[in-house]
Symmetry: C2
Subunit: 299 residues, 2 copies
């Protein structure tokens, strides 16, 4: 089955202590769509300006991503620039130029309205809700978010969260949203906001799922070299949704495996700047690392 992915499509200029890369392909929808494309057909919805490099369109296309929902409009593509500290858990934004993203109105082409799996990748929760208004009886809807929306659009976020099957956020966001330092307590409180499934991402420490079948503690692949963590969370949830869409059987049965694939794809993502590592990733490498993760965690 297919996955519909809505989110941001951007150009990212990323600086680390070791290198600087201007105008990489970025944005939550880009990361999530490329990640999902390893497992199932993807329909991406986003907006870019006329300045959007042709090579990035070709990159989407080489991953078989359906671009019927990608609006290309006059103006400049959303441009984000950030710098990572030596401890890459910390970064600061140097520049945010919204460009055409400022007036983004995600409109689903008719062909995208009945897609069974819907990933509302990280964008303003009001836009995520607007997408939900347009879909018809999806099988499984997941929303991702970020601290920004907790800070400036909390009531929109709470409205959205009521309407989704799964909600994904990171550990500090979970603590902020619930005012709970204990993750299990935080999970319990987030379920009360609506979602049947909650996934808390913990960066290099993996992730934790809470759902009707209880908890799953999902490991992270230990990285030899962290080059650029940008988009790791987006690729995690993108790959997870791609796997779910590809797997026969119930969500409950497939979700653990899907998260492990998400974890593995996110680990590859961190090995290169932007999407450069995923752009040359093979299915054999993915399967190899899933097996390796199984060996690393078996007891």
């Amino acid at each position: 089955m297919s996955v519909l992915i809505v989110g941001s499509t951007a150009l990212d200029s990323i600086k680390t202590q070791k290198a600087e890369n201007p105008r990489l392909l970025g944005g939550s929808a880009s990361y999530a769509s490329v990640a999902a494309s390893f497992f199932s057909p993807v329909q991406m919805v986003g907006v870019v300006g006329k300045d959007f490099p042709r090579r990035y369109i070709r990159l989407y296309e080489s991953h078989g991503i359906d671009l019927a929902g990608l609006q290309i409009v006059p103006g400049k593509t959303f441009h984000w620039s950030g710098e990572y500290e030596a401890d890459m858990n910390h970064r600061r934004t140097l520049l945010t130029e919204l460009g055409v993203f400022e007036t983004f109105n995600p409109v689903l082409p008719p062909t995208h309205r009945k897609t069974p799996f819907v990933l509302l990748a990280n964008i303003a929760p009001s836009l995520q809700s607007h997408v939900l208004d347009q879909v018809q009886r999806p099988k499984f809807v997941v929303a991702d978010s970020m601290d920004l929306w907790l800070n400036i659009a909390l009531s929109d976020l709470l409205k959205l969260v009521k309407r989704v099957d799964g909600f994904v956020l990171n550990d500090s966001e979970a603590r902020q949203l619930t005012a709970e330092s204990n993750l299990l307590e935080a999970l319990r409180k987030i379920h009360r906001l609506g979602p049947k499934y909650v996934v808390i991402k913990q960066g290099s420490h993996g992730s934790i799922l809470s759902g009707p079948k209880g908890l799953f503690v999902c490991p992270a692949y230990p990285l030899k070299k962290l080059v650029d963590p940008t988009g790791a969370g987006d690729t995690f949830v993108g790959a997870m949704m791609g796997c779910l869409a590809a797997a026969p059987g119930s969500i409950d049965r497939n979700l653990r495996q899907a998260m492990v694939y998400g974890s593995v794809i996110a680990s590859f993502c961190c090995e290169g700047f932007g999407l450069t590592r995923l752009a040359r990733l093979t299915r054999a490498e993915i399967e190899g690392r899933v097996k390796e993760l199984r060996r690393l965690t078996a007891f």
Copy 2:
């Protein structure tokens, strides 16, 4: 087989945001010995003053701990007092009264010199080395440490580390010792200091082993309620050594399982102040939680 455990034996006064408990049984040797005692016979070596409560001697005895190596001398027992912040990853020391611990000279009774498993729980590395001088051809020696010794006794620590089979430390200590933010790089550098096995503890995120058979990513049990994390690391390594001493076969074969038991015992430790939870822990509860951890992490 038996485990010889050398470390501190103390009285801990612990304050959290919710409660205050004076003069609990504490110290690295107390925590590690009680933890190990669930799996194998333990010989504990330490020192306490004449003020040491009789009930704590009975607690050791009720766990079958051999106290031939526990010196009871005139003076006051080591007393530590600390306070945890709301985020229990942070604590501050309110008071340290070394008492009889200041002149502690660990002397092994003749019966303790051929014990096959030796755990040098957290004390000054010079004392840990002094214990190693007294043992005869142990099968497996592990040392635990803390940031204090990295700061004030680094050269002693480096001398010790050359002589042990396994070295256990937490993630921030590993980063400090190696000036490496990447854990795999840090592990590689610590192996170069001598130990064949290195375990990095990551608190609520589990632990990671590096040894001749490669890596093992060991999960932590997700805690419903964190009451007091004091001694969690000591109980982890104590239980690990107890399991290794109890299991037939090679260290390489048994180490993963032993770490999982360590993780589970540490999780119980955090559910009560000091050793209060472990004091009433049953083997059935331990086995139940190991099974649960297996279920929580299976994919």
